[in-house]
């Protein structure tokens, strides 16, 4: 799907729930195939193709935790909250909120689902290990 011209129109949730679980909505360059998250329609970061050649793609909200950190100080937001650096199974590395009830370790398998953090909806990753 090729998105509309005005980038602000569709600045909304960056994920959706499907029968396969939560998926992150990303972008794909229809010219060179480069993909990334979060979705955007400004242009391709690799080949420079314009927004009308940027389509939408999806990434499984599943990956490996590279590192995590509990944040203890913030001017506006309630603390603590836990953030993680995650390499998605589909490629990109992202920063995202983690479930603060889990005793995390680097290398953990993580899966994302919709959750509330800092008074907004975000994808929150929890343990994918059973």
């Amino acid at each position: 799907m090729v998105l509309k011209d005005n980038p602000s129109e569709e600045a909304g949730p960056q994920w959706l729930d499907s029968e396969r679980g939560t998926q992150l909505i990303g972008w794909i360059c229809l010219r060179c195939g480069q993909r990334g998250v979060p979705r955007q329609r400004f242009g391709c970061e690799r080949c420079g193709a314009p927004g009308n050649e940027i389509g939408e793609t999806r990434f499984e909200a599943r990956g490996v935790l590279r590192s995590f950190a509990e944040v203890h100080r913030h001017a506006k937001w309630p603390v603590p909250f836990v953030m993680g650096e995650i390499t998605l199974d589909d490629g990109p590395t992202i920063h995202a909120f983690l479930d603060d009830e889990v005793a995390w370790h680097p290398g953990a398998t993580v899966v994302g689902q919709a959750g509330e953090r800092l008074l907004h909806s975000y994808v929150v990753f929890t343990s994918g290990e059973h």
Binding site: P7, A69, E70, G84, P106
Partner: protein, 378 residues
């Protein structure tokens, strides 16, 4: 491509600073004027000699230059404002150097002045983020720190030694925002801001000013500038993001920018005596000294512990105290690095003096990311 040093030679002839400090009610004009006046006196010239000014500020907003510089006498000089995030001062310096190298001016000044009052445009893209971690720089760097603890096998104490060294250097610098020696225990213990980051491993954002005057050799003759105190600009390089697929962009940029600078200079990193590094977070110094080739990959912590990066060591890294101790008022920071290296290469750094320093490198990265590197040579 033409390099700045392919053009005519440019020398740093004057440096000045207003000490970096926690935010006060002091006007930015007062901060900036103190640095500029100090630089003019240091160069031994008069203000009307300066033909072009590049005013670096990241947070003041529009039109900071002329309302400040008019109090030096309205000479009609060319004034431009420069912004490049944390690399603002470094970029203002490059612009001033290019102005003189190209022959557009014989004498130019780069000024960094800032107070943390304005907004930051980078997060305001219209793209909804997966998480707002970009708004929490210390969370981003806590994740980076934790990743290196896990993957490179560093210990918290090894990273903490960066902060100990730089706080100890900054304690000796009258322009530094934090001027207190710290022990390893003080920089690694709780409370943590995020992850295992103690606030002493994070730069304080404050206010201040720095100014650097550059000149052509013809002008140095004409204005009878003391050539024994001048320092030549041997390389100037700057690059922006070109990393993909989860590579650490700041490290990739540092490698690219320093490599370009080494080629322009024609020297080798082992010959660098003084290096001022963008150490907004302690982990960065270890990553960047490795990326710059000051030691083999993975050896940064061991070399630091051996004293290789101390004043008096193989390379004095951030003898000013770095961003961790001298501070990071944004606009001035990169110019404060140039001032420190100039002082070191002149042999005027007093108790912070790296013995027989001949070559120095200044390195800043900024949101973008961007990276700016300069090499100065006696």
């Amino acid at each position: 491509m033409v390099l700045i040093t392919d053009l005519r030679p440019v020398h740093v002839v004057g440096i000045g600073l207003h000490p970096y400090q926690y935010p006060t009610e002091t006007s930015y004009i007062e901060l900036g004027l103190q640095a500029v006046r100090e630089a003019i006196v240091d160069a031994g010239i008069t203000w009307p000699t300066v033909e072009a000014a590049f005013v670096g500020t990241a947070r003041l907003g529009m039109a900071a230059g002329v309302p400040m510089l008019r109090y030096l006498g309205m000479t009609g000089l060319r004034v431009s404002q420069v912004e490049n995030a944390s690399a603002t001062g470094s970029t203002a310096f490059r612009q001033a150097v290019a102005e003189v190298a190209s022959g557009l001016a014989d004498v130019a000044i780069a000024i960094g002045v800032d107070k943390p009052i304005g907004r930051i445009a980078a997060p305001d893209t219209g793209i909804t983020p997966i998480s707002p971690v970009q708004d929490v720089p210390f969370a981003r760097y806590a994740l980076l720190t934790e990743r290196y603890l896990a993957e490179a096998g560093y210990t918290k104490e090894q990273i903490g030694l960066v902060a100990v060294k730089n706080h100890n250097n900054g304690a000796l610098n009258p322009y530094a925002q934090r001027r207190k020696k710290r022990t390893l225990e003080e920089v690694v213990r709780p409370p943590y801001v995020a992850g295992s980051l103690n606030s002493l491993q994070i730069t304080p954002i404050g206010e201040g000013a720095a100014a650097v005057i550059v000149m052509s050799e013809e002008a140095m003759e004409r204005y009878k500038v003391d050539q024994s105190r001048s320092v030549r600009v041997a390389a100037s390089s700057t690059v922006s993001d070109q990393a993909f697929d989860g590579a650490n962009a700041d490290v990739a940029l540092t490698q690219a920018a320093t490599q370009a600078a080494y080629e322009e200079w024609g020297g080798d990193p082992s010959d660098l005596d003084v290096v001022e590094v963008h150490d907004a977070f302690a982990i960065e110094e270890l990553l960047f000294v490795e990326a710059m080739g000051l030691c083999p990959p993975g050896q940064g912590a061991a070399e630091l512990a051996k004293g290789s990066f101390d004043i008096g060591g193989r390379h004095a890294v951030s003898p000013s105290g770095g961003l961790l101790s001298m501070g990071h008022p944004l606009g001035p920071t990169g110019l404060g690095q140039i001032a420190e290296i100039t002082r070191q290469l002149r042999g005027e750094a007093g108790v912070r003096q790296q013995p027989d320093a001949k070559v120095g490198l200044a390195h800043m990265v900024g949101i973008g990311p961007v990276c700016v590197v300069h090499i100065l040579q006696r």
